[in-house]
Symmetry: C2
Subunit: 308 residues, 2 copies
Amino acid sequence: MGKLLIVGSVAFDAIETPFGKTGKILGGAGVFIGLAATQFRVDSAIVSVVGDDFPQSYLDLLTDREIDISGIEIVKGGKTFYWKGKYHNDLNSRDTLVTELNTLADFDPIVPENYKDADVVMLGNLHPNIQMGVINQMEERPRLIILDTMNFWMNNTWDELVQVIKHIDVITINDEEARQMTGEYSLVKAADKIQDMGPKYVVIKKGEHGALLFHKEHVFFAPALPLKEVFDPTGAGDTFAGGFAGYLAETKNISFESMKNAIIHGSNLASFCVEKFGTERMLNLQRHEVGKRLLQFKELTQFNIELT
Amino acid sequence: MGKLLIVGSVAFDAIETPFGKTGKILGGAGVFIGLAATQFRVDSAIVSVVGDDFPQSYLDLLTDREIDISGIEIVKGGKTFYWKGKYHNDLNSRDTLVTELNTLADFDPIVPENYKDADVVMLGNLHPNIQMGVINQMEERPRLIILDTMNFWMNNTWDELVQVIKHIDVITINDEEARQMTGEYSLVKAADKIQDMGPKYVVIKKGEHGALLFHKEHVFFAPALPLKEVFDPTGAGDTFAGGFAGYLAETKNISFESMKNAIIHGSNLASFCVEKFGTERMLNLQRHEVGKRLLQFKELTQFNIELT
């Protein structure tokens, strides 16, 4: 079995959408990535930090799904990272109402001994120095290092970000961030420039407009599945990343062809994530549902033009 | 050979983009549709109207490509429809600076005798009564009637639009217009509602984000080809429609599978249109270039996940 090391927040989210609102519920990039990866035959572990206000029942949800949580530090007297946000009517934009970093502010990740030889490392959206700290703890170069980041780190820790992405294979980033990062409006040109900075593969996430994978002169595109209802987009990007990483850790095949499949698996899983609040849909997702929707993805995108 | 009847403007365009500007050049939906359709084995005719200020050389460009222009009325002393627009830096939005309807204001389309049995009718974006007038002139029900429209007609001629779309098979419309037309944000729901109004097939154009084809429970998606440079988007939507209609007129196969291919052909041709000002690229487009780019479309979208 492939081994997947996940580094990312384990958190409380409070979400408001046009359809309703929640209190503090289970959230965080590490959790969404980890839950998505359970759809593949992989051993996975989450490295993160929480306060002792974090319910044991939430941790049990992870261990019940055979996710190794020995790398989740519980800080006594500490408080767990908390994010509260409100989505606008189109669900494409949101206002952040509360961000309390709490224990995440001093997060010093410790990679469990038996994950220092992980095949795939998925570095969730965190301070680039934390991401670099994890890479430095690996015993040998992982087969694949994937890094997610966002505009906040570009604005505030540009030099550190430039440093860490020299050491990774795949960067996932959204379209506006790719443009900001490179000053190029064309995503083709932006992806070229990012590849010059280190990552050999660039995944550009466009939300409801799908995702692009760039590698040298190759481009692959996966649409988001058109849905009747998008209930709550929270965690969709991380679920996408978790599906991408999970598939590659299972197959241990990091060819471009394999990454195409990984992008489709990621998009497929993300289409479930948005159907309920927070992690609810992913916690109850069955294998046969995943397979059925993959078939929809095939119907959505595959055609048969004979080229002569 | 399949017969394709095209109804749409033949016009002067003046275009300004961040890359340059033109004087009055050849434009109009009918022209872009017609040029795209020349990439297929079809007999096609354009029904339109111009003034006697319209250069013979422009008409010759059409007849040189074996497009039947006997249905283009030349009004003595009249002036040709003129549109002038300026694109913003992202090329996704534009300001219309001039719209002079001129002879198009009193356009009374006359379908040439030998096109009253056309296999496919492509009704470009015009007053719904003009579109209806063309349908009424057909000797027998065409195999396929495709209609393009826009928000202007929804706002100003809603009742007439509702009337004409009862008689068509395929409507092409952009995403915002589909939402406006139905009050549904979800494009899946919007397409359902539009199908209830008449058209059995709904094509939703999303510009740089591709196009969706809906029919009952089936959905197909074609991305726009990611390009290094988009030079001028003018005519891309009409070129897409022309490729779609041209392919279906050539094959005379209007199954959903065939329409998938038609959508890909339309997207493929549109990717050329935006590379130069106005019709320039389409006037010089070679068959082998089209085939080569279709291969890129395959690489962009086709994957190989085995489902068990």
